[in-house]
């Protein structure tokens, strides 16, 4: 970006990855310029990616000052530490930080864990799990504008918001197939209305709207993945 101080950040990413999107949102919230590199992880992985993440060979990868940092939540915390003059994602109080880390970890373990079964498993069990997860998140959000509470849009919001583009896919896949499955269908707006409002509020932030893709595009991508996994 012209006139911006080059802080030497490069992000290896994949357009639809919710983990990559977390990093894009964080960088935008912090006003940090960076070079975005699209890695086509569906095809052959680049040498650069394999060199910078030899253990997991996946994105996102943040390159900074000749060093690589991987795993989205680790990248987010790293950005907070290395750029302390930018908008922090985590609050300052140790308890509030632990609380935020807990819920971001919950998103990783449960939302991603359960949601990714959409690729590999018939719908029923996944729906039951997902309803429980959505209700839990709804309770945690409560009447807050953002999960960050007094801190505002923060760590947990950034961790969760990319997955909301997948809700639509979840809704639509949960109602597909036999009419028997209809009974188990999940309508996110009915199960977690506060979460849906929260997602809309997040989308009003430029950092979010510039980083996420439409639910329609995500749905098409999910369909392709399901075909790859032989679900349809």
């Amino acid at each position: 970006m012209a006139g911006e101080k080059n802080v030497g950040l490069v992000l290896l990413d994949f357009w639809v990855s919710p983990f990559g999107q977390r990093c894009r949102i964080a960088l935008a919230e912090k006003g940090l310029p960076y070079e975005y590199v699209e890695e086509n992880i569906m095809a052959v992985k680049s040498d650069r990616l394999l060199r910078s993440n030899p253990v997991y060979k996946h994105i996102p990868v943040l390159l900074h000052d000749g060093r690589t940092i991987t795993e989205s939540l680790i990248i987010l915390q790293h950005l907070d530490q290395v750029f302390p003059d930018t908008r922090p994602l985590l609050p300052a109080d140790p308890y509030e930080r632990a609380h935020a880390r807990f819920w971001a970890d919950y998103v990783d373990k449960k939302v991603y864990g359960s949601g990714s079964k959409m690729y590999t498993e018939p719908q029923m069990q996944t729906n039951i799990e997902m309803v429980d997860i959505l209700k839990t998140l709804e309770r945690e959000l409560g009447e807050k504008e953002f999960f960050g509470g007094e801190h505002g849009f923060g760590f947990v919001d950034v961790a969760l918001i990319p997955f909301t583009a997948w809700f639509e896919s979840f809704d639509r896949y949960s109602f597909k197939k036999k009419s028997f499955d209809r009974y188990w269908g999940v309508k996110v707006a009915e199960v977690a209305p506060k979460l849906v409002s929260w997602a809309a509020r997040c989308q009003e932030r430029e950092s979010v709207s510039n980083s996420l893709y439409s639910p329609e595009k995500v749905y098409d991508f999910a369909g392709m993945m399901r075909k790859d996994f032989g679900i349809e």
Partner: protein
Amino acid sequence: MAEPVKLIGTFGSPFVHRAEVALRLKGVPYELILEDLTNKSELLLRHNPIHKSVPVLLHGDRPAICESLLIVEYIDEAFDGPPLLPIDPYDRAMARFWAQFIEQKCAKPFWMALWLNDGDKREVFVKEAKENMALLESRLHGKRFFAGDTVGYLDFAACGLALVLGVLAEVTGLSLVGEDEFPLLRRWADDYTSEETVKACLPPREQLVAHFSGKKDRIKLAVNAMACQM
């Protein structure tokens, strides 16, 4: 007057150990409340309704802090004393990365391999665990502990390998790791369990063996049931 600290745990858990050793290194007095996880107390379920697991840290009137490595980070930030995580941001990111790696890529496959009935499935997990242990071992080159000269976050993250792997091998009769394999990790395990603060909160080995022998059948049942769903 310092706010009281309580740690809800259970006997023999490396996860609980992480929180205990962190508190001790910071010189924080605490009350340890031991749970029978087959009969979870109202206290535990109230404070950790999401995961219903130990450890759980209660610091004064604050809501509970859960998940062992998050508890260690909290202890590091909330109390004075020697730092538990690296100060340098990049080293800190690396410590978190390798801690996650240990959980997902070493501990999990070893756990599965120890308890699975199916020999073929077991072999797959053993292979995976050993490949990952080799990667982990490379982090020890030129260092006494993962954290450097003194124990720290990454050593706590790896503690299960030092504390229970050998015990579980004895209990299951399965020696998954050969005597000549992973010399650096073996040396690290000895150094870790001999470290003064660590040693002070470790139960005697015979007690650990007896404890896991008693749970053996129950664990086998649970793990094999879970494996069927995988």
